[in-house]
Subunit: 411 residues, 2 copies
């Protein structure tokens, strides 16, 4: 095992999910990255974990299933899968998800089948995803290269091995892992820097954010009363800190569910259902998408907006400077975990309830909506940042403050 | 994919488990052999399967768990695992198990932990293993090389790749897969040859078999009334044929539970709990082991005999000529699926109920015992064949017939 890989595993276990003595850990991992799950398991036990379970997944056999199984094989709710979710929820498992997806894995698959499976998956998995959304437990999302993903990101590499090496180098760099420094210390410093931005935004307590750039975006977002800006380094219901995403460069909160008006133009393609939605825009009226268009795959955009109720309302607004290291890498990662940290972005669908004061105590959808928190079975990020992005914050007493100028922090 | 691999996959799906249109298939597979599970899944769908599920396992993380988890983490019966077993049982899944074990994976692990886990695993998995034991569904067991296994079997190979290639060649040869012939045809012929041996043994309807060789074995085994000799090519409760083991060279039935007397000397080491029991012998009185000894790891032999009730009675007697291709390969495979097909053998523990007339209708342990069928949570083969093995059959009217002479079929 290379020194950097060891550091990266420790970062995932001891900083990301920050596992504590006596805690339980669920690792969700693709079978093709089994070595990483094993290293993380051992590291978690060394940190005193009481129980570590690995839940394997495999998108390649999922694709075979989508392509070759009969129609009768989709959309079933299995009791044993519900029982498994219940076990991980009841036993208070903390969670690490290894995110390593071939961006083209769903290409050519019948979207009806994907929708059926995703709908039933989201429904059955809700007790677990609710715990994650509410940060009731510590959790982290971290990426490991796979061959198909590396070849997509580095199409000019001469061999698969070269692509994998380039991918690892890019991941280490973006995750603040290098040969000479201690990534745990690097992250302490990074968290402190991000926290300063959060403090300033919380102090201003903006009522509106106004986004404008030359791409055509002219969008006013109302923020809910009691909105909370969040950066890396959250505290879970367990009382321990965790880093939800490695890497992360974003500071985010939720728009008020019914308070967004204007138009936004995406600045990066969105990979959805194995295909790319590109050159798209959304027009909002009182929080809801009323018009939309895309140069490429508009029908997929339509599916995204209509498959799950409330997928046509916003659930996240995130600020990322155009000079962030991930943005500066110039790589198109085909992976939301990375691409979202390269650009200011919004998310359609579910909001994280802890981004509004009282959100965690609001149990029903109605209670959440009353606080301005959107609810949905989906949460889909899309990028809208640019080198010329301007963001003006407006306070309750009408004062206007420059938050971003020319794509960079102005506060 | 090589031509031979394609043939091997087809052999597993279309001959081994012999999947039919509308049937369901469960593939149990190590994560390190994921490519094989995917190929088998696609092949099964092409054969008309309605649903194919893959249940991943990983002995490397299991080992980490054994070595590093606290004591509290072992021996739990989880409801969700029971529910999963129930699902596969209730839905009538046919089964393919990919058997690819590093023979040293459990080396140095606390045997108490292994016992706890195996006990609970056998208990929870019983509804499924009962279906398999009774051939209620079609099932097959087939091996795929892993690096650690190949390196153990071919320690003189210069590279891991060379060991893997040697391993594949040996597996293809033993499984009657080659470049020029059709393995499906080869197996038809093999099944016919084996069936002839079954027919002769059934015609004689022996009351006793008497095993004798220079190694010291002098064992009389009583066969139950209505015992059935079985070779490859069984018929499942589904009405379809299947091959339980690929490869297979054995013709087997069960000894009467209380009818074995004398002494047997093992002729090959037995890998148990990651270690090797070697140079061992067992003395039987009325079916039960009354004395035993081993040159190496006698304490493991003791554990094997005492962990599960009735593990000290026999559940299988299998005849394999000393010239079988697997025996002729001269390889010590460290894998029961292969090594058991190189030698006459016995099994401690559970008998297959279909090896006695009426056995499948006997529900309770008591009913099975009354028919001479042993019941237990374990079934452990050990080898006792040799180049000089003599087997004399004795019929109900006292006629003696040579079944094996000098290690080879005499009937």
């Amino acid at each position: 095992m290379s020194d950097k890989l060891q550091k990266y595993v420790k970062l995932a276990v001891n900083v990301g999910v920050n596992i504590q003595p006596g805690q339980k850990l669920l690792i969700r991992c693709p079978v093709d990255c089994a070595y990483f799950a094993r290293l993380a398991m051992e590291e978690a036990y060394k940190a005193g974990a009481e129980c570590v379970e690995i839940l394997w997944n495999d998108e390649k056999s999922m694709r075979i299933n989508y392509l070759f199984a009969p129609d009768t094989n989709f959309g079933h709710e299995y009791d044993w899968v519900k029982e498994r979710v219940k076990y991980f929820v009841d036993e208070g498992f903390n969670m690490m998800a290894v995110y390593a997806t071939d961006p083209e894995i769903l290409k050519g698959v019948d979207p009806e089948r994907i929708q059926k499976e995703q709908k039933v998956g989201a429904k059955i998995g809700k007790p677990l995803s609710d715990k994650v959304s509410a940060s009731a437990v510590q959790w982290t999302l971290i990426s490991v290269p796979t061959e198909s993903w590396a070849e997509k990101v580095f199409p000019n590499a001469k061999t698969t091995e070269e692509a994998m090496n380039l991918m690892w180098d890019a991941i280490y760099a973006a995750s603040r892992v290098d040969d000479t420094t201690d990534p745990v210390e690097n992250w302490k410093q990074h968290i402190a820097t991000m926290q300063k931005k959060v403090d300033v935004l919380m102090k201003h307590n903006f009522k509106y954010l106004h986004f404008k750039n030359a791409a055509g975006t002219d969008l006013q977002i109302e923020l809910p009363e009691g909105h909370q800006w969040v950066a890396c380094g959250e505290k879970a219901g367990t009382g321990y800190n965790f880093i939800a995403n490695i890497p992360t460069e974003e500071v985010f909160t939720t728009p008020h569910r019914t308070g967004t008006n204007g138009v936004v133009y995406a600045t990066k393609p969105l990979v959805h259902m194995g295909d790319v939605i590109d050159g798209f825009w959304l027009k909002f009226k009182d929080g809801k998408v009323t018009e939309y268009g895309a140069e490429k795959n508009q029908h997929l955009l339509e599916k995204l907006l209509t498959t799950h109720p409330n997928a046509d309302f916003l659930g996240e607004v995130a600020l990322v400077p155009h000079s962030s290291p991930i943005s500066a890498s110039g790589i198109l990662w085909y992976n939301t975990l990375y691409d979202e940290n390269a650009s200011c972005h919004l998310a359609l669908g579910k909001a994280y309830p802890y981004t509004v004061k009282g959100g965690l105590e609001a149990n029903s959808d109605e209670e959440k909506h009353a606080l301005g928190i959107n609810t949905s079975l989906t949460h889909e990020d899309f990028m809208m940042g640019s080198a010329d992005m301007s963001i003006i914050g407006e306070t309750y007493d009408g004062k206007k403050v420059a938050v971003f100028e020319q794509g960079e922090w102005a506060v």
